[in-house]
């Protein structure tokens, strides 16, 4: 934790700032605008849900905010650093240790055990206690007995819990979650979400959650909705 705090000493500064970002793609020879001059400021420690219909550009927005993709125009600042000034490796370096991810389809590396998967971000961030951190995280999500298991030996819910453990293993300051319950049944999804919010709350992590689930979105402090490439501020939910 100290490690993260020392890097994010200015906790009042916005964790993510998107200014006039625009994303266009060429499809069938025609230019298609997915995101159009969009601005978004997310404060450190804030939880924001991004809502929208299928194809509205939610995932595209998430990928731009996390530096997984580059906007056609505009700029994103992540933890105070302009992403447009960085190349692919620079953005990866920025994410390492600062950013955690939870994906809809878990995205565990099939060649690695649960423990090795969880160790991965901590190792990439250069943390020497990666092994211990990973074991602690897996214990926290209730999978201490499954650390040597490979992803294909785990159920969907267990895989998503491993993904949660991995997301928090390097103590990131920002967590991006893309439809984290999309591939889970209702009961398992609810349990995973409880764990996600609990871990987020205890660490004060900035959370950016993409979902189409209004109820899930309502658990975030702020909800924004994407419509025709524009962002519409809907409501400020309860800060949990």
């Amino acid at each position: 934790m100290n490690h993260v705090l020392s890097r994010d000493d200015n906790t009042q500064a916005p964790a993510i700032v998107a200014e006039k970002i625009c994303k266009e793609i060429i499809s069938g020879g025609a230019r298609l605008t997915i995101l159009d001059d969009l601005d978004l400021h997310i404060a450190a420690g804030e939880s924001v849900a991004i809502l929208g219909r299928s194809g509205s550009g939610k995932t595209t927005l998430l990928s731009l905010l996390a530096g997984l993709d580059s906007p056609t125009r505009g700029d994103v600042r992540l933890a105070g650093q302009s992403l447009s000034a960085l190349d692919e490796d620079g953005r990866a370096q920025l994410r390492a240790g600062r950013v955690g991810f939870v994906f809809q389809s878990f995205q565990l590396l099939s060649g690695l055990t649960a423990l090795e998967n969880v160790m991965l971000p901590a190792e990439l961030a250069g943390l020497e206690d990666a092994d211990q951190r990973a074991q602690d995280m897996l214990t926290q999500v209730g999978l201490a007995a499954r650390i040597t298991h490979y992803p294909h030996q785990l159920s969907g819910g267990e895989q998503q819990r491993v993904a949660l453990a991995r997301a928090f293993a390097a103590s990131p300051s920002i967590l991006f979650a893309d439809e984290p319950t999309g591939n889970l049944d209702v009961a398992t999804g609810a349990a995973v979400i409880e764990q996600l919010f609990a871990m987020n709350r205890s660490r004060g992590t900035t959370l950016v959650l993409v979902t189409h689930d209004q109820q899930l979105a309502a658990r975030c402090a702020r909800t924004v909705t994407l419509e025709a490439g524009k962002l519409v501020e809907r409501s400020a939910g309860p800060r949990l």
């Binding site: 997984l68 692919e88 994410r95 600062r98 995205q107 590396l109 990439l124 961030a125 999309g182």
Partner: protein, 885 residues
């Protein structure tokens, strides 16, 4: 969301096709086939399949065309050796009707006649002409006379020189009327030259040239009489041929292949025999047949690896096709439309990939030809179309046996798959396996052309693959604990290898087989052949002297001692005809092996000794001692015993100059022929064959043989060359009946042929390696989508390009190390068996080979892996989110 990088479903193309699907006409199916093929090749789905087909076609056509050209060239050079396209041998002149028929069929004919006759030197016409041998006029010599008509030879060159051992040139004619050409032995013996004449029958003919080489010249121990060639126009005047004369008439024929085929069907009069190039040079053909078998095995390995690559990539393509087939069926496409479209697609792929492969094969065979042609000393002719037809057969087999079954299986995908992805047709795996097995059998039969060889290769391939698989599995198990001690990149790489266990084993086996082939060739050529050659001392005898008479033994020893040579070991020899085994008359019908049949018809060389040298190793029975002199025992070399089906205690009857000798097999021995010392298949104790003449038995005609080392002079060493030439010239002059056989030239030619064949083999094995790499590519392609996803995950979590690259390279480096190590271990084991069983050499572990094998495997595989996945390395992390759907 859908991973657009791996899907073969193109909604736009599918939608455009809806109209045509309903019509389901042939042109519509063709258009769809073209479109999907183009898309498949562009997107990479069909690239590996195409590459594997191209490799199979190139290796089948390349080696097929090459061997066809070489065998044609051998037939052609055999024709040069015969002096004609074919010859008719006869003990009587050819009947006029046959000559007229040949003429009517436009077959060119040149007559020759060969017979023995005694010649003498005519007293010098000019007293001023010096004669090198004072008593030359008194010498008579039994010679082999050859009378030739103008036009001789029809094929090949008659080489002559102005004096013995001088540079030769092509004669381009026959000896003119009144002249003769003789070989160096006769020339030296009579001290010919300067217009000297020999009396040939009733006429005196002037010797004007020395025969160096001629088509059809005998090269066996039996054909050792000095030779004289005369113009057939002088034959009548010589009066040498009369009723009852022992003459061999040889009619040289200039004919096309079709004309020779017609002649083969002709019923020749009794006592006449047609000899074609196919009957000539059996020893060279045997060597080349063996070389071809090696090439066939290499080709088969390549084809089997290519087949594995085709099957793997077709299976992956078939799996991807299911979504498209289900969608098209939902849209109304009929089974006929789909099957027409897919069949056309595969055929088009076969034409494009197979055509490119055949083209590559044609280039490769030209390279092979340039490597091999110089040593054969002949220009390689154009190949026949058969190898190309064979390549076509191979491509069709690859398509039908390996590519089509998974694709056809996809046709049975039910349309409900668009709603339930798990829905697939059943039984496809069984059909594919059956088709693949049938195709493997057909491939083996087609390429090996011999059921027995094909079966051996199939069994050998299965055993080798099983051993390699076991080794690979063990090594992968050993690697597992290592990942705990490595960094993130290596753990990722090693983890992939461990998790894709069966795929990793398959890749290791495929690459291991390819690397094993290359390593084995290197080991055999450099290690075993090199050691075997180096084992021969520098002064290993390289000249054999045969036909030494009893009274020449001491003068010959004195001659060599005067030249500074040590005492030569002289071994006695008698020629014997095997007449009975265990008192049963010997006939060639009792033996199936052609070589043994030839043995039965020829004379054996028997010798005697009371002491066997170190190059003779006892196998059964016991060697006799000097106390056993005179006992009718026989010691037999083990291969000869095997051929003649002999065992200890068997009795053999020999006819030696009309006398019967009955001998009992007393021991069997192994002879190390590579000592290059005179050795014999059959030997007796002293006092049996050399028993003095008695009232009831004449003394057996004995000659002696020996060998010595003639220091080889370098081509630029004029003095050394001249010294050797002088020694041989003087040897022939003093001992005209003794024949010297130069083993150096024969050895050099054999070594040269072996080297070239090995080089050709290496070139073919590069294709094997390529096929092994294509198998690896096929497996990599199968996991490409997952790699794109995993790379994206790693980058999303903050891994730099370097870390991702390290992880992938680690995986391939270890895979290469595994394949290289497995190959090197197997190569060591095979080399040990070869060394002990074939070369009779001590052979221990070669750490260098192990290291070289592992490192070369590591390098080759890492490079290939990097080349095939370098685009994956640049996959942007957003692909992860895209794949997340």
């Amino acid at each position: 969301m859908t991973d657009v990088t791996t899907s073969v479903v193109d909604p736009a193309a599918s939608a455009n096709s809806i109209g045509t699907l309903r019509r389901a006409s042939f042109p519509a199916a063709a258009r769809h086939a073209f479109a999907t093929l183009r898309r498949g090749l562009r997107a990479g789905d069909l690239r590996v399949l195409a590459l594997a087909l191209a490799i199979a076609a190139s290796v089948a056509s390349g080696v097929g065309l090459f061997t066809d050209r070489v065998l044609s060239a051998i037939d052609h050079s055999a024709g040069d050796a015969l002096g004609a396209d074919a010859v008719i041998r006869s003990s009587t002149p050819l009947p006029t009707e046959l000559l007229q028929k040949l003429s009517a069929d436009d077959v060119r004919a040149v007559a020759t006649a060969e017979f023995p006759s005694v010649v003498t030197k005519v007293a010098a016409p000019d007293k001023n002409v010096s004669v090198s041998q004072d008593n030359a006029d008194e010498v008579t010599q039994l010679s082999s006379i050859k009378a030739v008509e103008n036009g001789y030879p029809l094929r090949g060159d008659l080489l002559v020189s102005d004096e013995p051992f001088a540079p030769a040139h092509a004669a381009n004619a026959v000896p003119p009327h009144g002249q003769i050409w003789v070989d160096a032995k006769l020339w030296t013996m009579f001290g010919l030259g300067n217009g000297a004449q020999l009396q040939v029958g009733s006429i005196a003919l002037t010797a004007t040239a020395v025969i160096v080489d001629e088509p059809g010249r005998g090269n066996t121990f039996a054909n050792l009489a000095p030779e004289l060639m005369m113009n057939a126009a002088d034959l009548d005047a010589s009066g040498l041929i009369g009723p009852g004369s022992r003459v061999q008439y040889v009619e040289l024929l200039g004919a096309s292949s079709a004309q020779i085929a017609a002649l083969n069907k002709l019923e020749l009069p009794r006592g006449m025999r047609l000899v074609t190039p196919k009957d000539a040079r059996p020893e060279l053909k045997q060597s080349l047949t063996r070389a071809r078998q090696f090439l066939d095995i290499a080709v088969l390995m390549t084809l089997l690896l290519a087949a594995a690559a085709v099957a793997l990539s077709a299976r992956q393509y078939g799996a991807r096709l299911r979504d498209e087939v289900a969608l098209l069926k939902t849209l109304g496409a009929g089974r006929r439309f789909l099957s027409q479209s897919l069949l056309m697609q595969m055929l088009l792929l076969g034409v494009i990939a197979g055509g490119s492969g055949v083209l590559l094969g044609a280039v490769a065979q030209e390279l092979l030809g340039r490597v091999v042609a110089p040593v054969l000393g002949v220009a390689l002719p154009w190949p026949s179309p058969w190898p190309l037809l064979l390549s076509l057969g191979v491509i069709l087999l690859m398509l039908a046996g390996f590519a089509l079954p998974p694709v056809i299986a996809a046709l049975a995908t039910p349309p409900v798959r668009v709603l339930q992805r798990a829905a697939t047709a059943s039984n496809s795996a069984r059909v594919s396996a059956f088709a693949a097995l049938a195709a493997v059998g057909a491939l083996l039969w087609l390429q090996a052309g011999d059921i027995k060889l094909a079966t051996f290769i199939a069994i050998g391939a299965v055993i080798t693959a099983a051993i390699l698989a076991l080794l690979a599995w063990v090594l992968i198990r050993i690697l597992r604990p290592l990942r705990k001690r490595t960094g993130v990149a290596w753990r990722f790489g090693l983890g992939n290898l461990a998790r894709r266990g069966p795929d990793t084993v398959a890749q290791t086996v495929a690459l291991g087989v390819a690397l094993l082939s290359l390593l084995l060739v290197t080991v055999v050529r450099q290690d075993l052949l090199g050691t075997w050659r180096n084992r021969l001392p520098a002064d290993t005898p390289n000249q054999f002297l045969i036909n030494i008479q009893r009274e020449q033994r001491e003068p010959l020893q004195a001659f060599f001692i005067a030249q500074g040579y040590p005492q030569l070991p002289l071994l006695p020899m008698v020629r014997a005809h095997l007449t009975a085994i265990n008192h049963q008359p010997v006939t060639e019908a009792a033996f199936e092996d052609p070589e043994t049949k030839r043995w039965i018809n020829r004379e054996f060389n028997l010798s005697w000794t009371n002491h066997f040298g170190a190059d003779n190793q006892l196998i059964a029975g016991e060697f006799w001692t000097s106390a056993d002199a005179g006992k009718p025992w026989l010691s037999i070399e083990q291969d000869a015993a095997k051929r003649l089906k002999l065992k200890l205690g068997d009795t053999l009857d020999f006819d030696i100059a009309g006398q019967n000798y009955s001998l009992t097999v007393h021991d069997l021995r192994k002879v190390h022929w590579d000592s290059f010392k005179p050795n014999f298949f059959m030997m007796t104790p002293p006092g049996v064959l050399d028993a003095p003449a008695s009232a009831d038995r004449a003394e057996a005609p004995v000659q002696w043989v020996t060998s010595f080392y003639l220091p080889k002079a370098a081509p630029e060493d004029a003095a050394g060359t001249q010294k050797n030439r002088n020694l041989l010239r003087e040897l022939v002059r003093q001992f005209p009946n003794v024949t010297a056989l130069d083993l150096d030239a024969a050895l050099a030619q054999v070594r040269n042929i072996v080297d070239r064949v090995v080089r050709a083999l290496e070139l073919v094995l590069l294709f094997t390696l390529l096929a092994g790499l294509v198998v690896m590519l096929a497996v990599i392609e199968g996991s490409r989508a997952e790699r794109v996803r995993e790379t994206g995950v790693l980058r999303a979590l903050g891994a730099s390009s370097r870390v991702v690259l390290q992880g992938l390279l680690a995986e391939y480096a270890v895979l290469g190390l595994l394949a290289g190590s497995v190959a090197a271990i197997a190569a060591q084991a095979i080399a040990w068996v070869l060394a002990v069983q074939v070369f009779d050499l001590p052979y221990g572990p070669r750490p260098v080979l192990l290291i070289a094998g592992a490192l070369s495997g590591c390098l080759i595989v890492t490079l290939t892996g990097w080349l095939s996945l370098r685009r994956v390395l640049n996959s942007p992390p957003r692909a992860v989110l895209a794949a997340a759907g």
